[in-house]
Subunit: 140 residues, 4 copies
Amino acid sequence: MITYEYKFRVAYPDTDKMGTVHHSNYAKYYERARWELLRNIGIPYQTIEDAGIMCPVISMKFKFVKTTKYDELLTVKTTLKAIKGVRIWFTYRLQNEKDELINEAETELAFVGLNNWKPCVPPPFLVKAIEKYQHDSTTK
Amino acid sequence: MITYEYKFRVAYPDTDKMGTVHHSNYAKYYERARWELLRNIGIPYQTIEDAGIMCPVISMKFKFVKTTKYDELLTVKTTLKAIKGVRIWFTYRLQNEKDELINEAETELAFVGLNNWKPCVPPPFLVKAIEKYQHDSTTK
Amino acid sequence: MITYEYKFRVAYPDTDKMGTVHHSNYAKYYERARWELLRNIGIPYQTIEDAGIMCPVISMKFKFVKTTKYDELLTVKTTLKAIKGVRIWFTYRLQNEKDELINEAETELAFVGLNNWKPCVPPPFLVKAIEKYQHDSTTK
Amino acid sequence: MITYEYKFRVAYPDTDKMGTVHHSNYAKYYERARWELLRNIGIPYQTIEDAGIMCPVISMKFKFVKTTKYDELLTVKTTLKAIKGVRIWFTYRLQNEKDELINEAETELAFVGLNNWKPCVPPPFLVKAIEKYQHDSTTK
């Protein structure tokens, strides 16, 4: 189980006339957060596409707990839950500076060929990096 | 149970480098679709906010079944599932011109005060319009 | 000189905490408007990309005259000003239902190869459609 | 003349099917960049709104010089050109890691009352912070 904390500020266009963040933006926040998790174990997402494989989202769900607003400094705590077969699962907890929970979410992504969109196994270098990170964490 | 079909074309900026629609946009499509459902029973969403009440999303989930692409003509089949207490539920089926299912989703929204964000009952004119529409449909 | 009127409603996520439309969205409105102009003369933009040519924006400018808000029904009056060499120019006037000017803008686009991004002449079927439309309009 | 360099990575949803960044996103990049410039002289933009004043964009123009792509690390070099009467002007140069120019732009913003949208002079604490920063830079 790999975790990573990604911090960012709420941008102005992310807000809507309610004065808070439009709900469609959370999917964007979590996408950034999961790729920063991968970057942190040495695999920027682009290297997966460079290897001819993409990771489209195949299901996602969100629970909105508390509002947030422009310029707040938020933290996404991302967990890589599992990678199995042709899929990978992440969960997310979004918190504000007072450590209050703003939103929680889950996403399920598939590995598919860049050209044919057919499901495929993840690139070996990704599986290896995940195993290495988990091994190193356990033995620390 | 009220249903409504909303048609639209996929815009260019909705696509990403995968060549398909970025997953964050579906939340925007469904938001438009549910407010068109309400407009169709005589209650444009703005009239709810004009009455001092807002409808933030409190949970949503999406299942991505098939890809779509730029300029495709899509149809959202929205169903108002229930309105009860301080909440309202919608479900959505997004289809392409061949009637293939692209995506399905559910959203749960709350009624809250525009100024205090406190949960509240829906405006009476909305409840009445829903009841009237359902009554008229049943007796037709 | 070809003109076209494209009507649309302001979507909720297009607004920001000012309560009006975020300025970045006007570029999206005008993009839709110019491709609807082309669709109207028989050339959906996708057919240009299908012919191996893309039209990236190379310069654009905007003048914000009046604010607009959620759910307003707006009209973009687009004019295809010129197509010459490897470029095409459009101008736009955005108006509300009272015919008040909200925004005006100009965009300059280039024709480039889909694979090499090298400037190229527009596809002959586009030039022909523009000439035919102009001829038909003049002789009507 | 105050300048500031803001660095960021291109996010996935900022790309479109051309494989590069959709032109509407540059307005968002520059908005972040100018408010980071103000934060750097001690005035987060939110403090201006807290004082009852907003800064809507009243004109903007962009010149697209070179493409950029997903995950590239970009730098916006923002210059506060002038603040005079009820307006403030910024210019921007967007560069990639090789210091190649991607885009350049200018924006003109107005100061307006939060409630009445009437043009007004900038808040004194902003003018003071700008003057202090310029004075300190000159005498260093």
